[in-house]
Amino acid sequence: MAQHLTLEAAIAAHVRDGQTLAIEGFTHLIPFAAGHEIIRQGRRDLTLVRMTPDLLYDQMVGMGLVSKMIFSYVGNPGAGLLRRTRDAIENGWPQPIAYEEHSHAAMANAYEAGAAGLPCAIFRGYRGAELARVNPNIRTITCPFTHEELAAIPSVRPDVTIIHAQKADRQGNVLVEGIIGIQKEAVLAAKTAIVTVEEVVDDLRALGLSPNACVLPHWTIAAIVTVPGGAHPSYTSGYYVRDNAEYIAWDDISADRDRFHEWMEENVLAATADVFADRVSALRSAA
């Protein structure tokens, strides 16, 4: 049953050291504000799951919160590499991280299977691909009808999933629109879900939404937090556009360990969730 909480309270109540977290968002709707609060609260030894780790996980890895990552694309989309994650993998700085690597198709199927309560997913994948050699969690099953061999992977079942969405209502029902990515599956696959939203409305039913809109009922969510701009520099369709310049700028910021720390100090550690509304104010007119 969804509770409306502050970001600080929601993270404090539900996120613990050593947990497996999925802070999802496929380019769109990445919950940066929530991730920054986890950094401020100093969680440690996290296993982070995400198809496209992106800047947020790069920041969490660089700050030493992460002991393992499960992913399918560890780049800065359209801008290059994730330099803090590279530093951790290649040089063990600030600490070594373990990782389990999949393809997008595999991760998408694994979340889907998690949402469906299954122990594994099957798909026609990894053929001729070397990941199958280096990742022991890529196995096979044989179709009992055609005898075709299919790839099998374990489902994703995070302890906590965090997503960002457009709207919640007072009861705690949540609307996700546009590039919905893997948001619904990530929430339904998790034991606990936290959702940050741009705004809270009285009743989603009163908005005249499409009957098939992607709506998560309140009883699938533990906590709702209102954080306008909470996806910045990612974006929220209908509210503000992606801050592509910030993504490009990250390449420089993250190239140097000291510069990275300065940036994190100023923009994350010394900040609060309130800064996000300001950060997107200039991006709103274009949304």
């Binding site: 769109h28 590279r86 007119s285």
Partner: protein, 280 residues
Amino acid sequence: MSATPTEMMAVAASRLLANDDVCFVGIGAPSAACNLARLTHAPDITLIYESGTIATRPDVLPLSIGDGELSDTALTTVSVPEMFRYWLQGGRVSIGFLGAAQLDARGNINTTVIGDYHKPKVRLPGGGGAPEIATQAREIFITARQARRAFVEQIDFVTSLGHGAPGETRATYNVDTAGPTRLITDLALWTMLDTEGRAAADAGFDARSAAFTVVSLHPGVTRDALVETVGWPVRFAEEVGRKVEETPEASAEELAVLRDLQARTKAAHLRANRVKDAAE
């Protein structure tokens, strides 16, 4: 003004696309090529991005695979599991585009690591959608800038399958799609041909001997200059009984449309744009 090599790559790739193609588009060169085709000779081409956007018509090129522009202009946007299950694995994509950090002559691609997987010299972004795009799209086009560190005899890691090692075929891996048929670069157009000059679509194509073969040099590119950029022994079309053409110059329309698209894109991605919007 004639096309730059990067522009020529986009133009050459766009010409290979037809109105009824369903393209699984990657960011960068494929996105430029596909949208150039859409804005010129293939107005009804279907462009799909792995973020779930189907039949999208972006006005500016997306920086990421999931920019808002893509869903705002899409016919519909589906979830990512649906994208990979119903649309890609379902066999509905006619052409999948792939880029490459390392590439061999058989179309096998590495975007995962330089060096050993467990002790990498350089950790690259990884496969993303590529392992299944490579085997589930009916045909693969590869776009890449030619360079010796990229066009190598032996890639460090097989992120996605082309035709496997020489002597193998895709059937060796239980894959029945055509795989990489075209390689479009800043210098040339390559086709996957066997030693008899047959392409994947031709009867009798023998994938065991297939290799990317230069079939067309972009205007002003010499064979020597091309060979310099390739780490494997280059096969030219004559060696398999075909002719090496010269890629026709980019037309005035192609260039105008492409530059217009790129200019709109650049403006949209610059921070300047952000400030300007705010001031309005």
